[in-house]
Amino acid sequence: MRARLNASLLVGIVLTVGFLAVATLSFFWLPYNPNIPDIPNRLLPAGSPGHLLGTDVLGRDIIAQLMVGARTSIIVGAGGATISLILGVITGLAAAAGGRITDETISRGADIMLSIPGMVTALVLAASFGSGVVTTILALTAFFTPSFTRVVRAAAMSVLQEDFITTARLYGRGQVFILARHVLPNIAGVLIVQFTLFFAAGILTEAGLSYLGVGVTRPNISWGLMLSEAQNQVGVSSPLALWPGLAIVMVVLGLNLLGDGLRDVLDPKLTRKAT
């Protein structure tokens, strides 16, 4: 597989890897405790000695909060995307291979779920189970799974029409084997790309939910939460909202570029026609 590294894919890789590195680092080292207030040092501007990006209204270091926030973004974003992927693959494959009734049931179920706005689901879940990381992940899963189902179903149906599937059946291979060993590897490219895109969307959605107060709450920290807290300080110290906002933009951009770049790399080998 000859990878065609172009500029945007490179940027995507750099941003994503940087993001993951920072989040990992946060488990081993933090410049300060991001939750302990330090009132005498509150609202320090960026560039202050010892606080490269300044401190918030309670004197907590911004960089430390960003690092822990990165952790949350991964847990929520990747967690939501992963669970949706697993559920989506199961339902999508069932719909593609299972016959008309199964297909109709699953597809219409996915349609119904897709017609409910994600925020509504999130709010309902938060109201029932309280806000927090787990609820946020659940809300994301409810939102992303039906999309995954659709993508998996379409890709799987196209693969199932190929002759090598017929050949496998002629060898007596069962449906499960065919789906696992023949269909999944051939739709893997599509799934990887979709995963990175949903990862990015998850981070964005989580930021929105936490901003509204129905996502993550202290002592957990997320970039959306930082944005929410910064809202009150807009007149006094505007840059407070800048840092988490910038973090969100860079990571989401990075993941999207990575997803697009991967799509280009993984597809052409299979779809390029002979001249």
């Binding site: 002759d163 017929t166 060898y171 051939n186 080998k269």
Partner: protein, 268 residues
């Protein structure tokens, strides 16, 4: 001695309803079809697309069950036997399909794809040795085993597909339009290969095509199928020189040759 035979097979499919209360019309894809091949024989099946060739192949290989009629292999109904008999049938009847790019899993190395029938059909013995033996028979190199399908040309892929079909040591090889997707100079190579395999291994061959000359070259008896019915059967030379039905005549007339073209009456 008949080896694989379908007898009185009729197959229909339901079409979408035309009105809410109308009955679902049924399309007859195969109509009381008798078709088969004897031990060591090479037979052909010719017809246009939509004539029923694909369905016939699916029924002959056990992929589809006939609604009316039965399919017998070595004297036993293939749908009546126990698991062991079914496994035996699957080993004995193998298929090579039209589009070699579609019949091989693009994510599997050629070597793995060739091992697959041996594993799936639980064939005993040294698999690696068998793989080497067969790729020699079809004229491929050992290096091919490590590569992926997209690295090969259409003609080479068809050889790989034939090699895969030979792995379980079948007694019947069904070739469904094996050369129509290939270039003209490669067609000859593949047809020769099939002919040699029939002669060397004592295989029975069922060759399905829409071009009469291809079938005429490779087989000793040809059946013409049209709209789900077998309309004529005979030796290739017979069909060419003394066609008895309109459908056969149409197929004979459709054959274009360089000679006829140069003489100026090819398109009449």
């Amino acid at each position: 001695m008949t080896l694989l035979q379908m007898h009185g097979v009729t197959q229909t499919y339901a079409l979408p309803r035309q009105g809410l209360f109308a009955a679902r019309p049924r399309l007859t894809v195969l109509d009381a079809v008798d078709f088969g091949v004897d031990l060591g024989q090479a037979v052909g099946l010719v017809g246009e697309s939509g004539a029923g060739k694909t369905t016939l192949t699916r029924i002959l290989t056990g992929l589809e069950r006939p609604q009316v009629g039965h399919v017998q292999f070595d004297g036993t109904d293939i749908w009546a036997g126990d698991t062991a008999r079914r496994a035996q049938f699957r080993r004995a009847v193998q298929v090579v399909m039209q589009n070699p790019r579609s019949s091989l899993d693009p994510r599997m190395r050629v070597g793995v794809a060739l091992h697959e029938p041996l594993r799936a059909l639980k064939i005993a013995g040294d698999h690696a040795a068998r793989v080497h033996q067969v790729i020699d028979q079809v004229g491929l190199t050992r290096a091919a085993l490590e590569r992926f399908p997209h690295e090969f040309s259409g003609g080479q892929l068809q050889r790989i597909a034939i090699a895969r079909a030979l792995m379980p040591g079948p007694r019947v090889l069904i070739a469904d339009e094996p050369v129509s997707a290939l270039d003209v100079s490669i067609q000859a190579q593949v047809l020769n290969l099939l002919k040699d395999l029939v002669a060397d291994l004592g295989l029975s061959l069922v060759l399905i095509a829409h071009d009469l000359s291809v079938v005429a070259y490779s087989t000793s008896r040809v059946s013409v199928i049209s709209a789900g019915k077998i309309v004529e059967t005979g030796a290739p030379l017979e069909l060419f020189t003394r066609p008895r039905t309109a459908e056969t005549r149409a197929l004979v007339e459709a054959v274009l040759t360089v000679e006829a073209g140069l003489a100026g009456h090819a398109l009449d």
